[in-house]
């Protein structure tokens, strides 16, 4: 099961830029005590330095930084943007879902990534996530 409790999910997020969207997804993890504030800065810097490759599939971005940038606990957040935002990706823009992820070592989060890929790569589940009217509905879709 993905560690996605209600305090790291935001279904009606408003962001005007990729950077704002990354910060929103990251701030959820900060508030939940899973990462330090500098982790959010590292995610934004990663996006600025390395580019929009974090948009791994059409409409989906997974911003992240490295464990040493301030991850306290393996974690993932999910925000759904009311208005899609362009991240500058040639084929996968615009972005609707942003899942910020954090891991505490190089490989411990493989299981979490696999689960996330399993959910987001399932077109039925993805549709359900995009349509969910509440956190409870989202939870049902994710199971």
């Amino acid at each position: 099961m993905l560690p996605l409790c209600q305090d790291v999910v935001l279904l009606d997020a408003e962001a005007n830029s990729a950077e704002e969207a990354i910060r929103l997804a990251g701030d959820l993890l900060v508030k939940a005590g899973k990462v330090a504030p500098e982790y959010v800065e590292a995610m934004v810097k990663g996006y600025q330095d390395i580019g929009p490759y974090i948009v791994l599939a059409p409409g989906i971005a997974i911003p992240h930084a490295r464990p040493e940038h301030g991850v306290k606990e393996q974690c993932v957040s999910l925000i759904r943007l009311n208005q899609p935002v362009a991240f500058g990706h040639p084929t996968n823009d615009p972005v609707r879902l942003v899942c910020a992820i954090g891991g505490v070592d190089d490989t411990g989060h493989i299981g979490m990534l696999q689960e996330l890929a399993g959910v987001l790569g399932d077109s039925g589940k993805l549709e359900g996530i995009l349509a969910a009217a509440s956190y409870e509905e989202l939870q049902q879709v994710m199971q």
Binding site: H64, R66, T91, I101, D106, L113, Q114
Partner: protein
Amino acid sequence: MRVVTVCGMGFGTSLMLLMEVQAIAKKHGFAVDGEAVDLGSAKGKDCDFMVASGEIASELDGESVEVVAIDNLLDKQEIEEKVMPVIRRIAETKGA
């Protein structure tokens, strides 16, 4: 044979790709070992081929091995269609 998957930090998408490539290879009866690395460490890595997102792959055009570029990392079919011909070709070349 050996694959190196590459992403910006060697931590997110490269790990996803490594797992997927190994699973696809296994399904077709090929053993592929490998490593997920960041872009900075990828250059000149000893391997038979590389796999990366399209964005990252374009930064790897100086490599001596083939670099497979994937657009949708959640699309198993795209990965399979792009990676399997490379795996088969390498297997033949190596006489495996």
